[in-house]
Symmetry: C2
Amino acid sequence: MTEQKRPPTLLDVARDAGVSSNTASVVLNGSRSNTRVSEATRQRVLSAAANLSYVPNAMARGLAQKRTQAIGVLFGVAAGSTDYVTNPYMAGILQGVLEAAGDAGHSVTIYTQRWVNAKVSAPLFRDGRTDGVLVIAPPATADILAGLATVGIPLAAVACEAAELEIPSADVDNKAGVEAVVTHLAALGHTRIAIITGETDMSSTALRTLAFQTTLTAAGIEFDADLVTSCTYSGAGAESAFLGLWNRQQRPTAIFACNDAIAAGVARAARSLGVGIPEELSLVGFDDVPTAAMVTPPLTTVRQPLQMIGSAATKMLLGRIAGDFYPATAQLLAPELIVRESTCRVGSDR
Amino acid sequence: MTEQKRPPTLLDVARDAGVSSNTASVVLNGSRSNTRVSEATRQRVLSAAANLSYVPNAMARGLAQKRTQAIGVLFGVAAGSTDYVTNPYMAGILQGVLEAAGDAGHSVTIYTQRWVNAKVSAPLFRDGRTDGVLVIAPPATADILAGLATVGIPLAAVACEAAELEIPSADVDNKAGVEAVVTHLAALGHTRIAIITGETDMSSTALRTLAFQTTLTAAGIEFDADLVTSCTYSGAGAESAFLGLWNRQQRPTAIFACNDAIAAGVARAARSLGVGIPEELSLVGFDDVPTAAMVTPPLTTVRQPLQMIGSAATKMLLGRIAGDFYPATAQLLAPELIVRESTCRVGSDR
DNA sequence: GCCTGGTGACTAAACGCTTAGTCATTCTAA
DNA sequence: TTAGAATGACTAAGCGTTTAGTCACCAGGC
């Protein structure tokens, strides 16, 4: 086994260069301390550091300057689940986070502890391990955001209401996405449009349901509360949600599933009932995960710019970390309706 | 903005409890130091800590005991790419890593710096930020593993040859997976079986190609080097790889694509040529990503237990961190052939 | 009445780095 | 000349923990 040789310290560099450790420190991080240093000395220090492949110890540096060059990520996983990144949504966001953090020279620490409640869990994020925390899609019912807000660390959020807590956030423009869906379906002549939402405690559910209703009304289509139902974003329960809708005396001619996993469940259920998509039922998803293009028929859906959302939120967090003046804006990124083959004119056979 | 209130320190706890800071330390982490403490004192310290919601500073603790309770992850992303977790393979592995690390009370830090070369990049991992590093699917050509091995930090790896460097690793049993594929195809009467591999500098490519050849031979099927070609695991180039094979005077009757993305590319190319799958061409993938079940026809493929692989490698890393005696074994996890509808008896019309 | 040993807690050093404060030397300007 | 300003570098005090070493006290055995 490779023995754990002790890494060279600043003192080693200083000794090799024949200077004091603080001089070495000043040289190596171009600090604006009042310590001045001649060119010759500077070169000696630099070459000593290079010879030793000196890398400053992150712990010591973090302790001294209370900055770690790392940001934390907290996934808002559903209670009882440990599903962090297997769903494409989380993976896409994380990708954006990694890119933005990497560009800024920060590493990304994923917190693995489960959230219990604000009293117990929030203080754990005060451990100085990261310079700030990015909270991704926390359930609205959990006190995660509020709890973290009380511990006084820089925060930013993805896909949740954070404005009233003075926390900057990024998300897809849910309203615009839903509008695009409803407008698309209305243009195809649909008037009986159902919606199947995800978990009711996610902020996106409220936003999308509301936008659904208002856009419908604006399009002159009567909103029917009977055509609103829900399951989970994982897609579990989508089939029975579909059955519930399909057993109405007045069936919908189109279904807006609030994500692609739900849409896939609906498609499966429809197929097993012999319901033709899109001839008998138009179906729209949300997210545009890779599978959306692959299923039969290819799914009309709303593409979220996941990486951009992740990057945007990360930049906000970095802004908060860098200076206290960073505003608590909620940045909404434009979605894009991807029309494929799961939607068609109502009553048409294509 | 929430002001950054200074978190309570051990000294605050000690003061509140009317003891010295070291007594507080000893109480709070049940250390086996020679400092003894009476039950009454212990209780005073504990309640003081609870009142303040005291959380030890990770940097200070890390500095003092040279342990951070965090493991690092380095993704072996292809040169020029910054694609960390958008592909399902990486996401699945990472999920397993997070679970295992979480169970052990470690957080997971993803290194975002790009690997340049061993001389430049390896020392960066000596910064004490993590207790060890897990390297995931590094290109065999890069000197990542070898470079890290020289800096003397605990290591483990996923999906690469690490034994000769004395590094423990986990991977799917590539040989078993390929055997299952070839056996399946042979049982269906195929004798002209092509293989399309991923990047040639990935260790999995070599392993799968070799296993392919030996299994073929063992099954009494002549190995034809003309039926071996490659593209990239991202699926880019899969279509032209297919075309290359299809333009041989002796076409294959089955293609083994070394992952599902490649298989998807082949399916696309086949469809555009009007080649029927599976009637004219049986197609097998590898990985069993979610889309594999969704495409038309649903793909026969080899399922990798990604999360288990990630967890297994993480446990090995934790073993290395915990004690120097942890062996450098290469753990191979069993794959599972998932037979769907993209394969059928050769020459049959189903 | 003295030594031994157990109990309970404290002091201080160390971890590796940053940075405010100090100081000696040389150079410039009056 | 000499006060004053640069210049170049050093000393030392943290940052918040851990942990080795020290010490006072008290009970009991001789």
